[in-house]
């Protein structure tokens, strides 16, 4: 079971109060992009064992989207943060580093 805290309203609940929105920080490839880039944008996803970034929505609560950094192996949640960013904030990176010293942010 995952226990998530919504950074918008501060409520903590288990995962059934939320809705998973898939991998976070995707770069959109739209009109004018190559077929390969568009295909990868639509279909290719990371599926790591370990540190992962996801979009979640506070479905039954305030209704807002946000980001979560968590471990897919242990379900440990490193932190949740605003949806209004395309990069992982420093304080989340630090929280991950504290628990997973070997982890390096993807480029």
């Amino acid at each position: 079971m995952l226990r998530l805290t919504c950074p918008v309203c501060g409520a903590t609940g288990e995962e059934t109060e939320f809705h998973a929105g898939g991998e976070a920080h995707l770069k959109r490839f739209g009109p004018g992009s190559t077929d390969e880039d568009f295909r990868d944008y639509l279909f290719q996803r990371q599926n790591p064992r370990g540190v992962h970034f996801e979009r979640w929505r506070h479905q039954y609560g305030c209704g807002k989207w946000f980001h979560v950094a968590r471990c897919t192996q242990t379900l440990e949640v490193f932190g949740s943060y605003t949806a209004q960013t395309s990069t992982v904030p420093d304080h989340i990176q630090s929280a991950i580093k504290a628990r997973r010293p070997d982890w390096e942010p993807a480029q």
Binding site: V8, C9, G10, A11, T12, G13, E14, T16, E17, Q59, Y60, G61, C62, G63, K64
Partner: protein
Amino acid sequence: MFEPRTALQGAHFSGDITVTDAGLVGMIAIRGSLTDPALCAAVAEVTGHPVPATRKMSGDATDGLAWMSADELMLFCAYGDAPTVAARLVDALGDVHSMVSVLSDARAVIRLHGDVVREVLAKGAPVDLAPDQFAQGDIRRSRLGQVAVAFWMTGADSAELVCFRSVAGFVFEWLSTASQSGSAVGYFATPRR
């Protein structure tokens, strides 16, 4: 003209707690930026309630103003007053970017009363209902069973709950089932040995 009726038509259940249709309740959704001082001033002036902080509520379903999200409030008032109160809100808000809509007939309000009211809610909502974590003045939007609800305490042994009208029957039956006589868990209300 039609005659207003609630989804539950006065339903009442009595078990470990009582579950009761609250009857016709005026409900007005107010959307806009809750950090906008102009919006807060206009809402406070018309409703008589200060704009509540995150996950807080002023008053109750008889006369209350509830936080719903970072950009949404719910005003509770007398059913018959809702249209005029909404019109006054629209006037007071003026050019403030906002939306006011009367939702009285789109929602249902249920009153819960009894010693184990916290336990009954805790059976279906992923919410910490310990008295020091969820007190009068707090509101929580969450789920009960499989559907969206919002609830708040109105006293030590009473709570109110609002849900979509379309699921009112389900929620009523869910609460009745979860409070069948003899089904109390004894976690919050009964002293543990």
